[in-house]
Symmetry: C2
Subunit: 386 residues, 2 copies
């Protein structure tokens, strides 16, 4: 085993994002036990802070001990029983993944399809719900990391509730980068990940369940298939009983606490404005390089900028040069979008003016464009917004 | 959210154990992407190092992105299908947990019981297997963290194989503290955790599957219930294809790599001898304080020292004083052993002579014994073994 000596990278892909030095330092803090009074107090603070971030008063708001995909699985595993009907929006990798996760857990999945890059329409969800007998759950992805599309939530949650179903939102990429507003949007259940706009290393998945969702959990006819992710057991550790369930990932909780503290110091309004500003500047610059947004106007994510590639561009070669010659990671397209788009993440700490300029300059060089056009376009956006 | 400022603790409980400063420093290393060539190379090294530690040539040897309990669930979820017969040794918390995990996944569980603190006998496993039609799996806990009992494995794996079943071992607390020897002991599947004798923070679970176990996975009639833990999908990320499954917990992998490097530098023989020596010294000292081993002679764990408490001792008060006045964490008894035993972990970095002396002195003071008797007994062991 060699010494840990990674190359220096500017992380502008779909995650992990850049991590603030204070969060890195928090992780190197010596550990206390997972039942130590200090640690239990810290967990209370983390829960409070996550509630503010999600925009919810839900008591059951906790970090699951796994990555964002574990959070997805936790939400479905706790709510779904064999034969439950679940309506899922499928317009990218993560909607597709939700269908697979739900179906493995025994759900009868009704997929609502849209083109990759488009969003799911309320009317299509209503139609799918009408085809069900007794739908249990509607699930959509708030920020589709694979396409860069931003999904409105309030309309769909209204349709879901009218049909007596719970509303679940994947907020992995949106949380801490744009408003999520769980309670205001009528979201019953949401999950996220730490390695996107929270700018914390990957390894935890914040989830939130409201009272209605907890009642659905309490009235299950069968046990949750996953012991590890069973929220009724995990609740006994986060609740006043403090019953041992599994050993909480202490160092990752330290990291999350410090990441949440940075978010509180900046304030959500300023943080969202920063994400929007850097998105606009980047897109203005990329447009000068012939790279146009892949997602529809009005539905473009600030934190995940998906751009269409010109025909004939050997995109893998340019990404490799960006990585090895410039130290910058950006993301390729996935699935049907492979080779057709790039995905440029400006999430959390990655969403900084200097990073936008550094990427535009490196891309200008690799695409044989003059350096000033793209940079000027970005700077014009900054000049207008300061 | 306040600044992270935990009190200083000497962790001598059932985990997490003390973490070496080099491992803490590794976690504060800036991140690279989870598909970065550097990171993929590091994962290869981690896999090699885990193979050496498990004592196996198994290609499928990886860290699962969750704590030890996620590793337990991964092993059962990948092997069990509805109605499969599984024989599980139940002589403590973790055997009991395995029964619960397997049963939620659809297994028909045949429990082989023994008193807490005792070990599972080969003959009892053979009898249980004889009562099955077509047993799929036998599972036992190598190091029962709840009782301090060390379980021999080779005899049971022979009995399991004679019956055509796979052999699974929980090595959460044993790995890197005493020989595990997966291949030599005929273990087909094993899982562990990072927060015990690996002396890495909690958050990852090393698992290993041999060819026979992978064939059982490949010939399943149904999909693995858990998408997150499905090894056939995870294999595509760890294999040459490097297909994205979930975002690997980069910082925790850095920590594990550095912990494995420390283990390689010490050497397994020296490491095991250190664990044995400190166990003997601690037990000699505790005996002078009237605290006798709870597990049977010949079956006592070196890394988890379970001792019987004298009648009438208000153990919770003393543990609280140890924590708050002396900064030392030890573990209480669980389940039927609550109030009857203490569990003192000497795992990985926690297993140091200075820690043994510090605990014995603090305990001598709290139990109103003179300080020299317990210390002298421990030092006598050290004098003999150097």
């Amino acid at each position: 085993m060699n010494c840990i000596a990674p190359p220096s990278r500017l992380l502008l892909g779909p995650g992990p994002s850049m991590v603030h030095p204070r969060v890195l330092a928090a992780m190197s803090t010596p550990l206390v036990g997972h039942l130590d009074p200090y640690f239990l107090g810290l967990l209370d603070d983390v829960q409070d802070s996550l509630r503010a971030l999600f925009g919810t008063g839900n008591a059951m708001t906790i970090p699951i001990s796994g990555t964002g995909s574990a959070g997805m699985e936790a939400c479905f595993a706790n709510l779904i029983e064999d034969g439950d009907e679940v309506v899922i929006g499928r317009n990218g990798v993560f909607g597709t993944r939700m269908c697979e996760v739900a179906s493995r857990l025994g759900a009868k999945v009704v997929a609502v399809d849209a083109e990759w890059g488009e969003v799911i329409e309320d009317g299509d969800v209503a139609k799918a719900l009408a085809s069900c007998g007794k739908p249990k759950l509607v699930a959509v992805v708030h920020a589709e990391t694979s396409t860069g599309a931003w999904q409105p939530l309030a309309g769909i949650s209204g349709v879901a509730h009218d049909a007596g179903a719970l509303m679940l939102a994947d907020t992995v990429t949106s949380l801490a980068g744009c408003p999520v507003d769980v309670d205001a949007n009528g979201i019953d259940v949401a999950y996220s990940g730490t390695q996107k706009c929270l700018s914390c290393p990957p390894g935890l998945s914040p989830v939130t369940f409201n009272e209605r969702a907890m009642e659905a959990l309490d009235s299950r006819r069968s046990k949750v298939r996953s012991w590890y992710l069973d929220l009724s057991l995990i609740a006994n550790y986060f609740g006043s009983d403090r019953v041992y369930h599994h050993t909480a990932p202490v160092s990752m909780i330290y990291a999350l606490a410090e990441a949440l503290r940075l978010i509180e110091e900046e304030g959500l309004t300023a943080r969202f404005a920063r994400h929007e500003r850097n998105h606009r500047a980047l897109m203005a610059g990329l447009s000068r390089l012939g790279l146009e947004p892949a997602a529809r106007e009005g539905h473009r994510l600030w934190m995940l900028n998906s751009v269409k590639l010109p025909e004939g561009l050997d995109e893998a070669v340019i990404r490799r040069r960006l990585l090895f010659d410039h130290g910058i990671e950006i993301g390729p397209g996935l699935g049907p979008l492979a080779g057709k788009v790039w995905r440029i993440g400006l999430m959390g700490e990655s969403s900084r003016e200097t990073n936008v300029r550094r990427l535009l300059l490196a891309l200008s060089a690799e695409l044989d464009a003059g350096p000033s056009a793209a940079l000027d376009a970005a700077d014009q956006v900054y000049a207008q917004s300061h």
